[in-house]
């Protein structure tokens, strides 16, 4: 522990020089910008900037990349909350309650709880990364296909809290996502499924296209159809943070719980930030005394997932730095960045280049603080985005959504899919079909199917593998408990309550 402190403070000394601070600033600014843009994520940004940084020293480059990475997690929440247009999967859960809050004039509070939650989670998770990285990485290695399958089953139970009034419509949305997930090459055999001979469909339907289409494009069409008559309340700011005392009180526990959920799930390579954010949302709703407020502007529904999102981002760095195993797209790009400097991330990186690793970790703390300082004063400004005339606002959204979708694969077919999904999204809004289960279906369906078949291939067809392996069995048990637990509890508790009265 003492050694860690010493190494970390050496890292801080290194990171707190003026050039390094400037690179951190460039990184977080750029990161926030790409987080705001739909479709453009940190992975793509770091990848395209790699050659530009070719002649920088590795420490400066990594400080900038760290800033981009954390900054993008921050920026993502802004468009979700204000415009109901999440640009990546990690901020969908935020949009559910965040956008309702923005409509009610509480946009500043939603943005603030997201920013502070991100800061708290980012800092706590970086501390966990500093001190507990090796044991956590060992835990992640115990996860095989059977465990990941059980984890996706647990994640599927979060759909239960997202169904809305009609279970049937919610399940229809889920199955729509699952069906879209069938398109493309079957990962395990390399065989094409439901691609109808169109080569561009071989890689499946990009979840980003579905998200931008359902939310940004769908919202635009829907609002145009209704002549943009949704009522918008003026922005209210309670104090400089935009949050009332009540909202502070409601936020701090979800921040901590979100961190506790997000960080370990981030360590596991499984569907990016979708599982941690929705798990956090589900936990907050289940623990709340007033679950009926969820979906109608509950601040806990913003605070928890945003914290989980950032904590997961820090978690991803655990296997990368300690084992050299990239567990997300961004981590894979960062791995390539290490190689650009002739460095091999892996079990030996901490001993071979401690200066680099510790400066990077120190700069994550700094970047996080920088983001908070940068973003908090802007909350009020951002919140006023809602007041931009609708024609200009939605024109801008549609232009950015289209550019973002095209630049993913440079494919016109992606644009066609984007607008088609947007039309579907509008129809789903009209008929009160919830949108989020469809996204969960597209993300979790293929993961679940693949891990199931992988586990069976390894066990040579023995189904008992899912209950024989302890971690897998525990996850499945939790999933069952989450589904039937609340009902059983009610059955046990309600007669008692009557007796007490």
């Amino acid at each position: 522990m003492g050694e860690t402190f010493q190494a970390l403070s050496a890292g801080f000394v290194n990171a707190l020089t003026l050039p390094h601070l400037l690179w951190a600033l460039v990184g977080v600014t750029l990161g926030t910008a790409v987080g705001v843009l739909p479709g453009i994520g940190p992975a793509l940004t770091v990848a395209v900037l790699l050659p530009v940084t070719f002649s920088l020293d590795p420490i400066s480059a990594f400080i900038m990349f760290g800033g981009i990475y954390y900054g993008a997690m921050y920026g993502g929440s802004t468009t979700s909350i204000l415009l109901n247009t999440p640009g990546e999967t990690g901020s969908i859960a935020t949009a559910i309650d965040g956008h309702v809050m923005a409509r009610e004039g509480r946009g500043a509070a939603a943005l603030t709880t997201a920013a502070i939650g991100s800061f708290v989670a980012g800092t706590l998770a970086t501390i966990a990364l500093t001190f507990f990285a090796p044991p956590l990485a060992d835990m992640a290695l115990r996860f095989g296909p059977a465990e990941y399958f059980s984890l996706t089953i647990l994640a599927f139970t979060t759909v239960a809290v997202l169904l809305g009034a009609s279970v049937l419509r919610g399940l229809f949305s889920l199955f729509l996502g699952l069906a879209l997930g069938l398109v493309g090459i079957d990962q395990l055999t390399g065989e094409a499924r439901f691609s109808f001979g169109i080569p561009q469909l071989l890689d499946g339907i990009d979840v980003i296209i579905l998200v931008i289409g359902l939310f940004a494009v769908g919202e635009t069409i829907y609002q145009a159809w209704r002549h943009g008559r949704d009522e918008i309340h003026a922005v209210t700011l309670h104090d400089f943070t935009g949050m009332s005392r009540e909202e502070w009180k409601q936020s701090w526990k979800p921040w901590l719980r979100g961190t506790a959920i997000g960080f370990p799930l981030g360590v596991l390579p499984c569907g990016g930030s979708v599982i941690p954010t929705f798990m956090s949302y589900m936990v907050e709703k289940r623990l709340s005394k007033t679950p009926e407020r969820f979906g109608k502007g509950a601040i806990e529904g913003v605070a928890g997932p945003e914290a989980a999102n950032n904590a997961a981002a820090a978690g991803v760095l655990v296997p990368l730095l300690t084992l050299g195993l990239p567990s997300s797209a961004t981590a894979a790009v960062l791995l390539a960045a290490f190689q650009q400097y002739g460095l091999q991330p892996g079990p030996l990186l901490f001993s071979s280049r401690p200066d680099l690793v510790w400066t990077l970790i120190a700069s994550l703390y700094i970047g996080n603080a920088m983001l908070l300082v940068l973003n908090l004063p802007l909350v009020g400004v951002w919140a006023r985005v809602m007041l931009v005339p609708r024609p200009l606002l939605f024109g801008g959204i549609l232009v950015l959504a289209s550019l973002g979708a095209y630049s993913l694969n440079r494919s016109m077919l992606d644009l066609v899919i984007l607008y088609a999904v947007g039309a579907i999204g509008c129809v789903m809004r009209v008929y009160d079909v919830p949108l989020v289960p469809a996204v969960l279906g597209l993300v979790l369906g293929p993961l679940s199917e693949q891990q199931f078949r992988r586990a069976l291939a390894i066990s040579e067809g023995d189904l008992s593998v899912f209950v024989r392996r302890p971690i897998s069995a525990v996850l499945l048990a939790v999933a069952v408990a989450v589904l039937v637990g609340p009902r059983l509890l009610k059955r046990w508790l309600v007669p008692d309550a009557r007796a007490a009265v």
Binding site: P199, A331, P391, G395, S407, P434, G445
Partner: protein, 483 residues
């Protein structure tokens, strides 16, 4: 903030200023230093190309993209080419990029495509209508060997022990590696064939990325693993996996791992990367490209990059390379056939397996069930609006302003149609401006001139943001000269 950002990035983009910036950041700039030490004469002679487009058939970050971007830097810094923009066309193991390259670049002497062994696998697996031989082969550039490893805790100490168990009961040995039809699976098949086991009996577990398969191997989830040496090197060094064999012809310097061949498995295999030219080139264009690539592989920036990425120089050009591609294609095809991939099998719904059938049946069931709901009048009233996710309670009840009509949808459709038609032909600025204007019109805007002004400002700045700051290539179209 954006202004500062743009300025900062403009500084980043100017390589002249970049040197100054890097020096100011108190850091050595090895690559730039080496360029200035170029062979005399090269720098003074005019570049062979004003512009040479490098097409990477993969998303940014992967091996092909890295190769393309290293080529870009090497070509520019060695003074062979003035600008070498990289275009990413990802998808389906590179076959989408290949198809587009062969279709759109025919006869163009100023474009090259990064390619390699994995593309051959993709061509076979995806039954691609075009093949690598349809392009003009220029040169093989680099190669990467594969390693066969077991987890540190594995009972198998040598390749012999592993293969003995494999021959006894092939299905009991699970081999973890990268995507189906990729280099790792091909090598697994070649090894099986060499020891007399049918490749169809290899229990190959395909993972979707390097990191995922590596985690499974290090974590002992599979019996053995096959992966690129570059990915495995750090794990071998740290002792978290035990390397049993390497796929090179000879042992590699600094790595005490025996080859497959010296352990009695007659297989030599490398994951090579190459560069191709468009079909239908005249001789002059072809020779110019060949000379440029040859000069590139000898340049100092290229050699420095090889060292950094630990790539092995496997330069092979001309007819020898063309013959090599043919031989590799038939080898890959033969092995993948035996795996049963890429066969033209009749595909029916039932043959897709139980999971797709379950999903489609569920979709149809719930669609019908939820449609039946509103008909029977059980649709929830608006007032009790559910926490319908991503939606908000509406305040529309009976409001006098409430209107719903198809006119705005028509305007939007017109905007989207204009966008789809204009995007690649007219360029993204023109297309975005049109989309913006039509969208504003759809929202009942009655101020066409204001909207037009905004549409131009927004689309130009969005284009500059994506194409210049974020360096994503977008068709500039008719405004190409101005932006």
């Amino acid at each position: 903030m954006l202004d500062a950002l743009t300025r900062g990035t403009f500084i980043l983009r100017r390589s002249v200023l970049l040197g100054a910036l890097a020096a100011w950041a108190a850091s050595p700039a090895p690559v730039l230093a080496q360029t200035s030490g170029n062979p005399p004469g090269r720098a003074s002679s005019a570049p062979a190309f004003n512009q040479l487009r490098i097409i990477a058939p993969a998303a940014p970050g992967g091996g092909w993209d890295q190769t393309a971007r290293v080529m870009q830097i090497a070509l520019q810094q060695a003074g062979l080419v003035r600008t070498a923009p990289v275009e990413n066309i990802p998808g389906a193991a590179g076959t989408i990029g290949l198809a587009r390259f062969i279709g759109a670049e025919r006869g163009n002497g100023d474009a090259v495509l990064v390619s390699g062994l994995i593309m051959l696998g993709g061509i076979v697996t995806n039954e691609s209508p075009v093949s690598l031989g349809d392009a003009t082969p220029l040169a093989r550039l680099t190669g990467e060997y594969e390693a066969i490893v077991v987890p540190a805790a594995s009972p198998y100490q040598s390749l012999q022990e592993l293969l003995t168990a494999f021959k006894e009961r092939p299905e009991a040995i699970s081999w973890g590696g990268g995507s189906a039809g990729g280099s790792d699976q091909i090598l697994a098949g070649l090894i099986a064939e060499a020891v007399g086991v049918s490749p169809a009996r290899v229990n190959y577990i395909a993972f979707s990325g390097g990191g995922e398969s590596l985690s499974a191997i290090v974590g002992g989830q599979v019996t053995a693993g096959i992966n690129g040496l570059a990915e495995l090197a750090a794990q071998i060094e740290a002792g978290s996996v035990r390397a049993l064999a390497i796929s090179s012809g000879e042992r590699l310097p600094g790595l005490a791992v025996p080859t497959l061949r010296e352990q009695g498995v007659d297989v030599e295999f490398e994951n090579w990367r190459s560069v191709m030219a468009p079909p239908g080139l005249d001789r002059e264009d072809r020779e110019r490209l060949e000379a440029t690539i040859q000069a590139m592989v000898q340049s100092a920036p290229w050699r420095a990059a090889l060292e950094k990425y630990r790539w092995i120089d496997r330069y092979l050009a001309g007819d020898a390379f063309a013959r090599y591609v043919d031989a590799e294609e038939s080898r890959v095809r033969a092995i993948l056939r035996q795996f049963g991939t890429g066969d033209a099998k009749p595909r029916t719904l039932m043959s897709a397996g139980p999971y797709p059938v379950f999903v489609l049946a569920g979709l149809v069931f719930f669609a019908l069930a939820s449609m039946a709901g509103p008909l029977r009048g059980t649709r929830p009233t608006r007032a009790s609006d559910p926490p319908a996710v991503g939606r908000v309670p509406h305040s529309e009840e009976g409001g006098p302003a409430e209107r719903r009509s198809a006119t705005p949808i028509g305007w939007l459709a017109a905007g989207i149609l204009a966008y789809l038609l204009l995007a690649e032909r007219g360029g993204f600025v023109v297309a975005s401006a049109a989309l913006f204007w039509f969208t504003a019109r759809a929202f009942d805007s009655r101020r066409p001139y204001r909207d037009a002004a905004f549409s131009i400002v927004i689309s130009v700045s969005a284009f500059l943001l994506f194409a210049r700051v974020l360096q994503l290539s977008l068709p500039a179209g008719i405004l190409a000269g101005w932006l």
